[in-house]
């Protein structure tokens, strides 16, 4: 068990070291940081002094170590493009991305679980087949195309919902939220559906498969034999046992949702971190790119580690199996 824990921790640390190394190489060797900071009329002597002050003449391992220490303190330098601290820029965009991701996950679960139950209980019904066919479409079509289609139907054609931005936001402390205004809610509907659709189909297929599996087990037969009504058998016994894999998969998907928000945020011009990253790419704004890279990597590593630890807590086979190996 300790060896399992250790190997996972080592892997997580190795991943982070590799990603921070890439970010460091980007940050340090792509474009000259000094040239980005000074104007064209700065003298060579001043440039050399600035170079020395910034520690750019130190040996590379020293510079990398300094970079790591700064990154751990959320000091990612100054954006070339916007001349502002990268941490402040990302901090300002964080609420938009997190709210969008949260509503997407809620949508994916709220729509995916009932549809999956329906399709699992009556696999041959017309509705179940229609939803399965639609879900195949949802898995095959690229996210941005789904977003464009939704915009075309609901914004351009019907004019019901806005197609870009967050609507009105309310500032609470350092957090700007769109979830307290009507226009904020109207604005989040289309992007959240676009972002959550893939996860919704995933959850729906998973719940369907699990329900069909569980309905064949003995304890369901016994429950029926005891004369329990269908409603209690289906929801109290069958659904409850399908929820553990659903929770795991959803948890694992949270990282993907936040990463995929790059695409959705671009389609809907949603002012989140993904859009910030893409604009940084288009402007070769290296500090922002490096910071986003590390942030996303840290997120994925944390989620994976948490899931591994949870598995270990839940499933004794992992503990015993690994200890014996």
């Amino acid at each position: 068990m300790i060896s399992f824990l250790l190997s996972r921790a080592v892997q997580a640390i190795a991943t982070m070291l590799m990603v921070t190394l890439i970010a460091f190489v980007l940050f340090r060797y792509v474009g000259d940081p000094v040239n980005q900071m000074v104007g064209i009329e700065t003298s060579l002597a001043d440039r050399a002094k600035l170079r020395e002050d910034l520690g750019l003449n130190d040996p590379m391992p020293v510079q990398y170590a300094r970079f790591l220490v700064r990154a751990a303190r959320f000091d990612f330098g100054t954006s070339y493009q916007q001349k502002e601290s990268v941490a402040v820029l990302i901090g300002a965009r964080l609420p938009a991305t997190l709210e969008l991701s949260l509503i997407s996950v809620v949508f994916a679960i709220a729509a995916g679980v009932p549809l999956g139950v329906l399709a699992g209980l009556h696999p041959r019904s017309l509705a179940a087949r229609a939803f399965m066919a639609l879900s195949l479409l949802g898995v095959s079509l690229p996210t941005f195309l789904i977003g464009i289609l939704l915009i075309f139907v609901f914004s351009v054609h019907l004019g019901w919902l806005p197609s870009f931005g967050r609507g009105q936001t309310v500032q609470i402390g350092g957090w700007s939220t769109g979830l307290l205004t009507a226009s904020g809610w109207r604005s989040i509907i289309l992007p959240a559906i676009t972002l959550g659709l893939f996860q919704m189909t995933l959850i729906m297929r998973l719940v369907r498969a699990e329900i069909m599996e569980v309905l064949r087990t003995d304890y369901i037969k016994f429950a029926r034999a005891r004369g329990l009504p269908d409603r209690i058998v289906h929801f109290g016994h069958a659904l409850r046992n399908t929820l553990i894999p659903v929770i795991t998969v959803t948890g694992l998907q949270i990282g993907s949702i936040i990463a995929f928000s790059i695409i959705t945020e671009t389609v809907f011009q949603w002012p989140g971190m993904g859009l910030l990253f893409l604009q940084a790419v288009q402007n070769a704004d290296v500090p922002v790119m490096a910071a986003y890279l590390m942030l996303i990597a840290a997120l994925f590593v944390t989620i994976n580690l948490a899931v591994d630890l949870l598995y270990m807590a839940v499933d004794p086979r992992i503990r015993i199996g690994r200890a014996a190996a």
């Binding site: 892997q11 190795a14 991943t15 590799m18 980007l26 792509v30 474009g31 195949l136 479409l137 898995v139 095959s140 079509l141 690229p142 996210t143 941005f144 195309l145 464009i148 289609l149 915009i151 075309f152 914004s155 351009v156 197609s163 993907s256 990463a259 995929f260 790059i262 695409i263 671009t266 389609v267 990253f277 893409l278 940084a280 790419v281 288009q282 402007n283 070769a284 704004d285 290296v286 790119m289 890279l293 996303i296 990597a297 994925f300 590593v301 994976n304």
Partner: protein, 303 residues
């Protein structure tokens, strides 16, 4: 040997004929690939010939619209190019990038998988740990970050084959892991078979054993993965191009066309986005369905 392949073929053909979905998907995929290959022959206009373009023809709706022009069946885009021709050429770029990325990923992954499986030891450890790390992130995110970094660091507005090669590299690098894992697993089994021991005994070198004897026996699942990956590669290319970090605008792919058209969605010129979008959707769906069928038919274990 020919008998064995013939038997396999007929099994495969039997399953194929029994699956209407696979037949439709294969027909659609073939039609689209044929259209892309024959684009210079069947396209009504040459979208890259500046002398054939007239800016006065821009934003013409499809021919069946009252304002349409019979010369342009599906209308024109912002620069007056015939949309149908631009789409055929775009399909060419999309498919070319898709195929090239898959081939690149296949060669890289199979090579690393062969080495990891046959050499074992630290090489195996290094390659498989790198694979583990990469598996932590979704393929599209890796491709996006790589393409973004290349785009952000390379000279802006570079044209020619450079950006395309970097794009293929980014997409290919994002899914070599699957090949490496599959091949490594098969090699571990094959390496202890008698024919490999016999080959080693008569002094054939390790690279020759790997390429001439083991490789043919592990290629089946690899080809199935490649088919499924083709749809994914096409989707990733389209997504990157849509985000502006993919194919440069000089040689638009389907994703680039959708990106351009998206700017005009609100001013009523829906056809510039929706037609390339529909082609992309049909292409991704049909290649996906065909790959799914191939996987089930060839190797149910891969599930």
């Amino acid at each position: 040997m020919t008998r064995v392949t013939r038997a396999l073929d007929s099994d495969l053909m039997y399953s194929f004929r029994r699956t209407p979905g696979a037949m439709i998907a294969a027909a659609l995929s073939c039609a689209l690939i044929l259209g892309a290959v024959l684009a210079p022959v069947i396209a009504p206009h040459d979208p890259f010939d500046p002398s054939g373009l007239s800016i006065l023809d821009n934003f013409l709706p499809p021919a069946w619209d009252a304002a349409g022009d019979p010369r342009f069946l599906l209308g024109t885009e912002d620069q007056g190019r015939d949309l149908l021709s631009a789409m055929l050429y775009g399909l060419r770029v999309s498919l070319a990038v898709g195929f090239a990325s898959v081939i690149f990923a296949l060669i890289l992954g199979v090579t690393l998988g062969l080495i990891a499986g046959y050499a074992g030891g630290w090489a195996d450890n290094l390659i498989m740990r790198a694979a583990d790390i990469q598996m932590t992130f979704p393929a599209i995110l890796i491709a996006l970050l790589l393409a973004g970094i290349f785009r952000g660091t390379a000279a802006h507005g570079a044209s020619g084959a450079g950006p395309l090669a970097l794009l293929v590299f980014s997409i290919g690098l994002s899914f070599w892991v699957q090949y490496a894992r599959t091949v490594r697993g098969s090699v571990l089994i094959e390496a202890n078979r008698e024919y490999v021991l016999a080959a080693r005994l008569i002094g054939i070198s390790a690279p020759a054993i790997l390429i001439r004897h083991i490789l043919p026996n592990v290629m089946g699942p690899v080809l199935v993965i490649a088919t499924i990956n083709l749809a994914l590669a096409i989707i990733i290319e389209a997504t990157l191009s849509f985000l502006g970090v993919g194919v440069p605008p000089g040689s638009p792919s389907l994703g680039t066309l959708i990106r351009v058209g998206n700017d005009y969605l609100f001013s009523g010129e829906w056809w510039i986005t929706l037609f390339p979008g529909a082609v992309l959707g049909v292409l991704a769906l049909s290649v996906n369905l065909f790959g799914d069928w191939l996987r089930d038919a060839l190797n149910p274990r891969l599930g």
